[in-house]
């Protein structure tokens, strides 16, 4: 398998090898090596690759990446938050998930009133599941109407119990830092709102066995816990120090009883080895390490574009592929996997997904279907800028007026 992967990596269809003439420059052999900041190396790299990938849209993405990003405040349902919520609403922050639910409900009502609910159901979050859920009887018109009713109820109930406040497009206000309540729990967690989309896409159902393969520092894990739907959640990360952070985050947000071994397990191992524990999970989140585009442009420290880390950076797609394969193998047949990165790079996004599907079929005889998440674009268009050019999966683009992302996410369903 490794050989096949290597061969694939040797022929990138788009990438640093193809450059415009104007990007070429002479090398001067200086006695002292130039100390170019990693952030500039990153920018140079992005300019080369992303201007090809995004064409005219690159400048607008670029300036977003180079300007202050937006956050959301994920409300901690386990803390006393009335006051915080009141304050947020006074500041004109909106719970974007709630808002989009209201919108889609209104839409559904219109659809339900109309004749053919089936054609237009793409407005609700649970469409994908609806198709497969065997317990919904569809026979005759009466049943159809009843079914529509169920869809309505389910979609409203199936929106997860996540409250997440954002400032609307064009509003550059900031959130105040989290506060401790009387029980010593923090009121909210500040994160990129786009990071919630992979979690929403996972669509955890009550009673699901869930794996978060690369979990630290724990933003998405926390969101998963807020839903209170997982029967059991396993949160894993390779890095010991980052797993420590994950522990601390969970301790400051989640009541102890919900962290009992029966419901939550935090592990610290190489996600690529997870394949050994196969076909166990209903839902798997594979939020892989990537070039963290935004971070790489802003912070020198720990920058993946450091010359010393070139090899590591170049082998990222390989690592990502292996992690996704491990995640897919860890999922039960009919289980769902969401793959996500915070990079714009096709090489780390679509190519990894497509290659994983191929490898699973050819080398493991496992069939995987890429799920359509395009209805997310309609659902959350008021909050995010979505890219419409992904072959598979969805991509949130940074944009000055809604400066979230980048966030790529793709949902895969294991068929066999």
């Amino acid at each position: 398998m490794a050989l096949a992967l290597l061969l694939w990596l040797r022929r990138p269809r788009v990438g640093p090898l193809r450059t415009f003439r104007r990007f070429l420059y002479k090398k001067k052999w200086a006695t002292t090596l130039p100390r170019i900041p990693c952030t500039k190396l990153a920018l140079r790299n992005f300019d080369m690759n992303y201007s090809l990938q995004f064409g005219d849209r690159w400048p607008s993405i670029r300036i977003g990446l180079l300007s202050e990003q937006k956050y959301c405040a994920l409300i901690n349902n386990f803390a006393q938050t009335e006051k915080v919520i009141q304050e947020l609403e006074l500041l004109n922050a909106k719970d974007f998930i709630y808002e989009s639910r209201q919108r889609s409900l209104a839409l559904e009502l219109v659809i339900a009133a109309g004749s053919s609910p089936k054609d237009e159901r793409s407005g609700c979050l649970d469409v994908q599941d609806e198709e497969l859920r065997p317990d919904v009887p569809i026979d005759g018109d009466g049943a159809r109407a009843e079914h529509t009713q169920t869809v309505l109820l389910q979609s409203s109930f199936n929106y997860p119990r996540i409250k997440c406040y954002t400032f609307s497009k064009g509003d550059i206000s900031r959130f105040s830092p989290a506060r401790l309540d009387s029980m010593g729990r923090l009121s909210h967690y500040l994160m990129d709102a786009a990071s919630l989309l992979p979690v929403l896409a996972l669509d955890v159902q009550p009673g699901d066995e869930v794996l978060d393969l690369c979990a630290a520092p724990g933003g998405k894990t926390l969101a998963l816990l807020q839903m209170e739907r997982c029967r059991h959640l396993t949160a894993n990360d390779l890095s010991t120090s980052r797993t420590g952070r994950l522990h601390r985050v969970i301790q400051s947000y989640v009541p102890r009883e919900l962290c009992a071994p029966g419901s939550l397990r935090i592990t610290c191992c190489d996600g690529r080895d997870w394949a050994e524990e196969e076909s166990t999970y209903d839902k798997v989140l594979v939020d892989v390490p990537c070039t963290t585009d935004r971070h790489s442009l802003l912070e020198e420290e720990n920058n993946i574009f450091h010359k010393m880390r070139t090899k590591e950076r170049q082998s990222l797609p390989m690592l990502q592929l292996e992690l996704l394969i491990a995640g897919l193998l860890a999922a039960k047949p009919t289980g769902d996997v969401v793959y996500s990165t915070c990079s714009l790079s096709q090489l780390q996004n679509e190519y990894v997904v497509e290659r994983a599907v191929e490898v699973l079929a050819v080398e493991y005889g496992v069939n995987v279907r890429i799920e359509d998440l395009s209805f997310f674009r309609g659902l959350f268009q008021d909050t995010f800028y979505f890219f419409d050019g992904c072959r598979v999966g969805e991509l949130v683009l940074p944009h000055l007026t809604a400066n979230f992302g980048p966030m790529y996410f793709c949902k895969l369903r294991r068929i066999t």
């Binding site: 420059y25 002292t32 130039p34 170019i36 005219d56 400048p59 300036i63 550059i172 944009h399 000055l400």
Partner: protein
Amino acid sequence: MRLVLPYILQPAVSLLRLCPRRHAACKFGSTASAEGPEGLFSVAGNVRPDWKLQDQFRLSIAKHSRQTSIKDAELDKAAESFHEMGFTNNQIIQLFKIQPVSSAPTLQQRLAIVSELLLLNLSVDKTLKVLKGSPDVLKVMTKTLKDRVEHLRRLGLGEGNLQKVISQCPTILTLPRKSVDATVRLLKMRCLFSAQQVTEILFTTPNILHEVHQDLEFKFQYAYFRMGIKQQEAVKSRLFRNTITEIKNRHIFLERLGKYQTPDKKGQTLICNPKFKHVFGVSEDIFLTKIAHASAEEYQVFKMLLAREEAEEEDNTEGTSGDEETASDYEESDEEEEDNAEGTSGDEETDSDYDDSDDETPERVEP
């Protein structure tokens, strides 16, 4: 058009002295109170009684000046002189309405300044405009005014240009020579503009004469060091017409979009920069649609973000360079160049960057 103003209806005039303006206007059924005496005089000619005209003159004399009693004869004589200079009645009224801050020029002073301006080859219209734009010019002594004009001429503002500058920036006539000289010295000595370039700057953007020197110098330094704009380009692009905030907004906007790069020592960039005059010499609309190719919403948000970034950078006394992506980074660039581009320090190196082999080297001000 010349009008003879006979002394008729004397009693009415003296009566008027006691009348508040509004009352008078109402009583005599004129349109004086409507702030638009055009109507009156377009039909006036010699048909209407002339006491009305004189009345208008008197009433139009700015309140402040009215306190010192002006004799009717004096007023008539002044009006006649203005007529001789080519003023219409309407224009005389407009002229009388112009009032400098906290001062009441005598009629003689008004006459003197007006004739001085007309001697400069300004039309009556332009003269009025100048005085409206800068009423304080009426306070300037004729000799001083002559001096100042002569000085501007010596700075290279020749016939035509001088008039344009005065029309465009009438307040220039209220500036003492010393202050003009100080600005000129700053441009020459600290920003290393040639005498000719200084003239052109004065011609295109005379308003800089009113600017605080520190701001002006900082503006230039930002353009020179941070953007790599040379003196000649600064002149041609009308750079100085923009405030420092506008300059930064447009520059950093383009830079982050990837559409502007600070040239390296050899003046090279990896991308093709837009012409400076297309960046700074155009309206915001044109700038966005033709140069930046970005939406107005994006630019609005960007301006707010940048303002906040700068404010926070100022708070941060560390002065850590906030702009993560100054662009003059080449493989061959050495560390000094990097520093230079970052705008962090390195006076010694940057000084050598000047084209002009002048000994005078400006000091860097940390942005």
